[in-house]
Amino acid sequence: MDVIVQAAALLADPYVILVMVAASIYGLAVGSVPGLTATMAVALIIPITFFMDPIPALAAVMSLSAMAIFAGDLPGALLRIPGTPASAAYANEAYAMTRKGQAGLALGVGLVCSAIGGIVGAVVLIAAAPWLARIALQFSSYEKFWLACLGLLAAIAVSQRSWIKGFLSLLLGLTIAQIGLDPVSGLMRFTFGFSDLAGGLGFIPVLIGFFAVPELLRYALGRSPTRTVKSQPARRLFSGVGRELVRQRGGIARGSVIGTVIGSIPGAGADIAAYVSYAVARRLSPRRDRFGTGVPDGIASASAANNSSIGGALVPATVFGIPGDSLTAIIIGVLFLKGLNPGPSVFLVNPELITAVFLAFLLANVMIVPFGFAAIAGFQYVLRVPRSVLMPVILGFCMVGAFAVENTVFAILTMAAMGLVAFVLEENDYPLAPAILGLVIGPMLEENLLLSLTRARGNLFAFVERPVSMGLAIVVIGLCLVPLALFLARRLRHSDRRP
């Protein structure tokens, strides 16, 4: 308890609070711009934090991470261009609500749930970091393989109309992930001798291409749904949010737990947490038939998971120095930079400093609510800009954003080519979210599959020998078989009723 009091005293410095406010505004601004991500925002502020003391520097990074991740929901909900990969899980749902004139409700629910999820993640981080990290560290390649399978199943489950098209979209994403260096043997694959392909296709250009370019092309054809977005007066912007939050309390709690647990597993970050949480919400919701048409159920659960996963990811990151995702990898870099070398010893040598970092993350998630409401109200003005002006500017942002991340014009080509592919796929009712998840999980799935096969020397029973891997395998196989069994049972019942 003394450590927490000392840590709180470190944060109570007006300079630290001022830095957190400035970093929050920066995080909201960068995160809300299509094509700019929380990871990019953190990476770009590191040169500035280099000149700061450890506490304000790390407090700034924590604040802007939390804000930028929430801000990724804004373009996702209002323009159907998710600002972060995790926002892609529920961007369609939020956008469908925006089209119904419920943008305020969608964003308000997402905002408060992000804050609740973030606070839950932070509390778990402070209270149970070593314990949770011990569980996550026990995961071997077998458990990680099954976890990746679970993520892939979630990708197919979020397919709205046709599971086979969702499956093909997933395979496309997995295939794109094969381009470049093989994670196990280190050999080049599908590069055709082009050095630009050696590192694989850039994730951010592909993400922008998949989610932004088709929208712009549909606008050009005069078929863009963005034209029908209904603006709402500011005073009615968040009406119904409180009632909806009470109704979604179970989903918020579930999403927070899923996010914290999945986030604490190295390699499984906010993206998987958001997708799994959305898929679970869809399965358990009484309004599951209306998912995809604009219901807040999926948004509440997935956005809570999105932010709580950062707290979870910080557990192995700080206790053992294992990053959960790219964002926590950068945060580990900042910890090293500031002399707080991640590892069990940091809790012995500098307990008040590391606890102050955790408290800064908690405070940032509390600050999300007022800052986020202001950002939502301000972002509504984007809708008032004529589309003939806004859409060319967005394409400009997308092209420069893709270039900025990779520092090469090849990233713009990647974005454009993927955009055209995505446009054709969407014209034929293929969902795009599975492709993105396949792209994210592909390397993890392949690496753990090959490692497991090598360790087991081809013995497939080794995949289910350990208790946790067996538990995960039962969940994965069950999730595959139960819908099939229900489908067959329905068909049998249907055929029995026929004369």
Partner: protein, 171 residues
């Protein structure tokens, strides 16, 4: 653009892609000491893609999907009935080609010349008037340059303006 909406064609496209992935994967040879080489996982993907592509290509409802007609067209834009007008097709072509043109123009003209021209052209084909289109191009270029080059230190190409780079860097 009804010709783009044909599920069977996409199924055949996936079959072909799957076959290409499979053929390339079978050519991949891993190190001798590794039992499972770099071709194992992608070849499995190729096989699955061919099988799933066959299901899509030869299922009963693999024709054109239902046209998505916008239920509420904006007042300032013509209602769409599924088939766009010639102007709209032209605008679509400009938006689709713009990134490729930008890639070609960026190293030669530089960011500060290529971007305003491109954005202004896009605004014009979108229906904006000349002054609005030019203002959009110029203002958005200054904004992009300030955010990315001046603040975030992204090295955007100077092109023809290389010799004025010092004057044009103000932060």
């Amino acid at each position: 653009m009804r010709w783009l909406r044909h599920t069977r064609a996409t199924g055949i496209g996936f079959i072909l892609l799957g076959l290409v992935v499979l053929a390339l994967s079978l050519d991949l040879e891993g190190p001798r000491h590794m039992a499972y080489g770099p071709g194992l996982f992608p070849s499995a993907l190729g096989i699955l893609m061919v099988l799933a592509g066959l299901v899509v290509a030869f299922s009963r409802d693999s024709g054109a999907p239902e046209a998505s007609v916008d239920p509420e067209p904006a007042a300032d834009e013509p209602p769409s009935d599924g088939e766009p007008s010639r102007d709209r097709v032209a605008a679509f072509a400009v938006f689709a080609v713009a990134p490729f043109v930008f890639v070609l123009a960026l190293p030669i003209l530089g960011f500060l010349i290529a971007t305003p021209v491109l954005i202004a052209v896009l605004a014009l084909v979108s229906g904006a008037r000349w002054p609005t289109a030019v203002a959009t191009g110029v203002v958005s270029t200054v904004l992009l340059q300030t955010i990315f080059q001046q603040v975030m230190r992204v090295p955007l190409p100077w092109g023809l303006l290389e010799r004025y780079a010092g004057v044009l860097t103000w932060m």
